[in-house]
């Protein structure tokens, strides 16, 4: 199959960018989107051009490295799917695809489709952990955690930190990302002692980074590759109010 690609090209963070058109031919419908770009880049390199910079590592939807918008869909036309798990069989022969980076003030573009998501690391740094040093833990089965609670904590913990929630949000809010980590840790008995300082510090850092506020459109929940629920945001807001 073939596709007409319009790809966002931007040389650096402070340069201006624009879409450039490429004809991608001899594609296999079972190729993943990054594999299509691998093939395109080989062609570009051989004709003396600068290959499209994009990131992807595990290519199985778990590392959170990949991701760009395809025709305005964050990651993929399929909800709950990362870019690397999107295959060309999702498109029709001859389709036009516009590929552009996740856009948010707090995610500056580094080059082409590559963005800087270090703001997420700084939110975790602000309190997204349980303060236990190595070697201090007591026997694991002394703390019983009921099955459903552990499952709920896992649902929130499954976040891969890809940033799709921010990219799809009209406010570029990081509320889904931040609230998922808060739920994961604060639901568990081990994480309760720090629950109040955690929510205050993480929310403050989220604001400092320049992410917008949440207006509950629910777009993030739809697009999230790990199906993280916006009920985490409700819980975060409740915890935050209590912590004030």
């Amino acid at each position: 199959m073939k596709l007409e690609l319009h790809i966002w090209r931007q040389a650096g963070p402070n340069e201006s960018g624009k879409f450039e058109k490429y004809e991608a031919k001899n594609l296999d419908p079972h190729m993943s989107v990054p594999e299509m770009l691998d093939q395109l880049n080989t062609q570009i390199i051989k004709s003396g051009g600068d290959p499209v910079a994009f990131e992807s590592d595990c290519r199985e939807g778990i590392c959170g490295q990949c991701g760009f918008a395809i025709n305005g869909d964050i990651h993929s036309p399929h909800p709950g799917t990362t870019t690397c798990q999107t295959h060309l069989r999702s498109f029709k022969d001859g389709d036009k695809l516009f590929l552009e980076p996740f856009r948010a003030k707090a995610f500056p573009i580094k080059k082409d489709l590559v963005i800087d998501r270090s703001a997420f690391d700084r939110i975790i740094e602000a309190g997204g952990y349980i303060g236990v040093n190595t070697g201090q833990a007591s026997e694991a089965n002394t703390t019983l955690i009921e099955h459903d609670l552990a499952e709920n904590a896992f649902d929130a913990a499954a976040c891969i930190g890809c940033g799709a929630c921010v990219a799809t949000c009209k406010n570029a809010s990081a509320s889904l990302f931040t609230s998922a980590k808060i739920s994961h840790l604060s639901l568990l008995p081990q994480g309760k002692p720090e629950a109040q300082t955690r929510v205050k510090n993480m929310v403050a850092q989220m604001d400092t980074e320049g992410f917008g506020a949440c207006s509950f459109t629910g777009a993030c929940e739809v697009i999230c590759p790990q199906d993280i629920s916006i009920s985490n945001i409700v819980a975060m807001n409740k915890r935050w109010r209590k912590a004030l």
Partner: protein
């Protein structure tokens, strides 16, 4: 010359004895020592966080854009520990023996025992960090079984155990960063080790965003850069996994051990076309409930659901009735290859076998199977577009885990003084084949529980110099930087016609065919010639676009492929010298009448160790393996 420095005494007391006699540094003096950590996977993050907690000055480098993206994140099935919560006869001794036997008696007894001994503390540690392991309705931790053992000692967090353990380690790392106890440099790749009078005294790194090259002094260096299975190009590993950090350390004098021991995972997805960049792993835990089979007849044309029981060959259950579908990975992979080579493979390229959940679905119902493996079935659907609740999965063996790596002693220090190697990057605990759910364990145990003691013991005998490295160091660092800049410039200036990725694909193809799941002398001799030719072509025909400054992914790839090309020759040499079959290393010339690996304990009960003496030149050493406590037996799963 090769002294593993194993403490004497009974095996149960060795580690306690080591810890009791290890030297300590008082808290006020620890901050005078600087430790550099390369890699932020489980081993890197856990060791960096633990050493920073102790008060050492820690600086961390990772080529990822965030520490959380390291490839530990992709491990699915679980982590082993001898807790014996199931009351099914598990113990440290049994776990030690299972691991040693799983590795076909080609690992060090003392290391393996310590791994089993520390496994219980790791579960405690991970739970305390908030890792959401699976629970029973009573609230107790839940276990399942894994290949190569007859007890249930695997702890898991759905099919994302690696991700959850890594998040625990990453969060500990970020906590130390927030307290100012360590510095974290993302998008920095280690390209050289600086040695001064035979001691490891620093690293030279490249900033992958700007291209800037800089050197950093240290009193001890920890390399935890993961495995090199990606050398086969098609593998279960992430695209950027590489051997560069360990290979550069090797070139600077660190010995490489058993590089040819690569495990092929039996439950990966098969290759579908030449465009393919990786093979996705499906967790081995699926083998708890899935049954593996192929049609009996190579001419079978019916869809799997229409093939009656009589025409199916459940070859693992047939050949290994005691372990059945839970036979260890090397054995399962080879058995699959045997059937595929016999023409009984399934799928469009006839390169796969079925993994069938029909019986489990009938027995336990869809909700329960979904509860156990839901995300894996979903992943399978996303990749293949097929529904495994309705039809069997198709799976195939794929390059996966590196049992080989840099040689280390009992304290995880290489022969280069001050260089510690942790996790998959070292050769240590798995022998010639790793058991499932032991790699997360080893990476964590190395980082949380071993390195903090052994690195401190080493530093206690070392004068701290990194804070004030002196003129000689500065000159060495400048020379290292200059050499790297010139070399990268040379790669960029080659201006040939073949991209780094095309070279990598050719390299992978040669290795798969001639030094893969099974090997023989004549194939490997051909591989040696082909690889030399490929290396030669690389030096004249490489094509990289762009320049050294700024983001240049092609330059990153080319420099890693160049190291892989050198390493591949050593892999072949290593597989050639070992004239026996053991674990994942299957030499076709050495097999039993019924096709099982034929070990030769009299001549090959050693770890092969290679010293770099020049480009493509090595000196061979042996570390003999002594079994004082476990009885060495023929490895049978029948």
């Amino acid at each position: 010359m090769l002294d593993a420095k194993i403490p004497d005494g009974p095996i149960e007391e060795k580690w306690a004895k080591y810890k009791a006699s290890a030297k300590l540094i008082n808290p006020a003096n620890r901050r005078k020592y600087k430790i550099v950590v390369v890699g932020t996977g489980l081993a890197g993050s856990s060791s960096a966080a633990s050493l920073a907690e102790l008060g050492f000055d820690v600086e961390v480098f990772t080529f990822h854009d965030s520490a959380r993206r390291a490839h530990s994140v992709a491990a699915q099935g679980g982590v082993n520990a001898a807790k014996d919560y199931k009351n099914d006869g598990d113990s440290v001794w049994r776990m030690f023996y299972d691991t040693l036997k799983g590795g076909d008696f080609r690992a060090r007894e003392a290391n393996v025992y310590r791994l089993a001994e520390c496994s219980m503390s790791l579960i405690d540690q991970a739970v305390a960090q908030g890792v959401p392991f699976a629970r029973e309705y009573s609230g107790y931790l839940r276990n399942r079984s894994f290949g190569g053992v007859q007890v249930s000692r695997t702890f898991y967090a759905r099919g994302q155990t690696g991700q959850q353990l890594l998040l625990g380690a990453y969060q500990s790392l970020m906590r130390q960063k927030s307290q100012g106890n360590l510095r974290l440099n993302t998008r920095h790749e280690m390209l050289d080790v600086i040695t001064e009078e035979g001691k490891t005294k620093g690293v030279t790194v490249r900033n992958l965003d700007t291209g800037a090259i800089s050197s950093h002094a240290c009193d001890a260096l920890i390399i935890a850069s993961g495995g090199y299975g990606k050398i086969y190009y098609l593998s279960t590993l992430a695209m950027n996994c590489n051997a560069t950090a360990i290979w550069r350390a090797h070139r600077k004098g660190a010995f490489m051990a058993a590089p040819s021991w690569t495990q092929f995972h039996p439950t990966s997805l098969p290759q579908l076309g030449s465009y393919q960049s990786k093979l996705t792993l499906m967790s081995e835990s699926l083998r708890n409930d899935g049954r593996i089979w192929v049609p009996k007849s190579p001419d079978e044309k019916r869809p799997p659901g229409d093939i009656p029981e009589n025409d199916r060959d459940y070859y693992l259950e047939r050949r290994y009735p005691a372990f059945g579908n839970l036979a260890p990975r090397d054995i399962s992979s080879r058995a699959a290859k045997e059937r595929i080579d016999a023409g009984c493979g399934v799928g469009p390229m006839k390169n796969a076998v079925y993994l069938d959940f029909k019986d489990a679905l009938e027995r336990d119902g869809k909700p329960e199977i979904k509860n156990r493996y839901g995300n894996l079935f979903e992943m399978y659907r996303k990749i293949t577009g097929m529904d495994a609740y309705e039809e069997p999965m198709m799976i195939a063996p794929s390059a996966h885990f590196s049992m080989g790596g840099l040689w280390v002693d009992y304290g995880l220090m290489s022969n280069l003084s001050g260089l510690f190697v942790l996790g998959e990057a070292n050769f240590s605990d798995h022998g010639a084949n790793r058991l499932g759910a032991n790699s997360l364990l080893q990476a964590c145990v190395d980082g949380y529980f071993i390195a903090p003691h052994t690195v401190m013991d080493f530093l206690a005998n070392t004068e701290p110099t990194a804070k004030n490295p002196g003129e000689n160091w500065t000159a060495l660092a400048a020379a290292s930087e200059k050499k790297l800049e010139e070399h990268l410039g040379k790669l960029l200036a080659t201006k040939g016609n073949t991209t780094a990725e095309e070279f990598h694909k050719e390299l992978g193809k040669t290795l798969y065919q001639k030094c893969g799941l099974s090997r023989n002398r004549s194939d490997m001799e051909e591989a040696h010639t082909e690889l030399l030719r490929l290396q030669e072509r690389f030096s004249t025909d490489l094509l990289i676009s762009g320049k050294a400054g700024g983001i240049n992914f092609e330059l990153e790839k080319a420099s890693r492929v160049e190291d892989y090309l050198e390493m591949a020759l050593l892999i072949v040499a290593d597989a050639l010298q070992r004239e026996e079959s053991c674990g994942a290393h299957f030499r076709e010339e050495y097999q039993t009448a019924d096709g099982e690996a034929l070990r030769n304990d009299e001549e090959f009960q050693y770890v092969s160790v290679w010293e770099h003496t020049g480009k493509n030149e090595h000196k061979f050493h042996k570390e003999p393996l002594h079994f004082e406590f476990a009885e060495v037996k023929e490895r049978s799963y029948k």
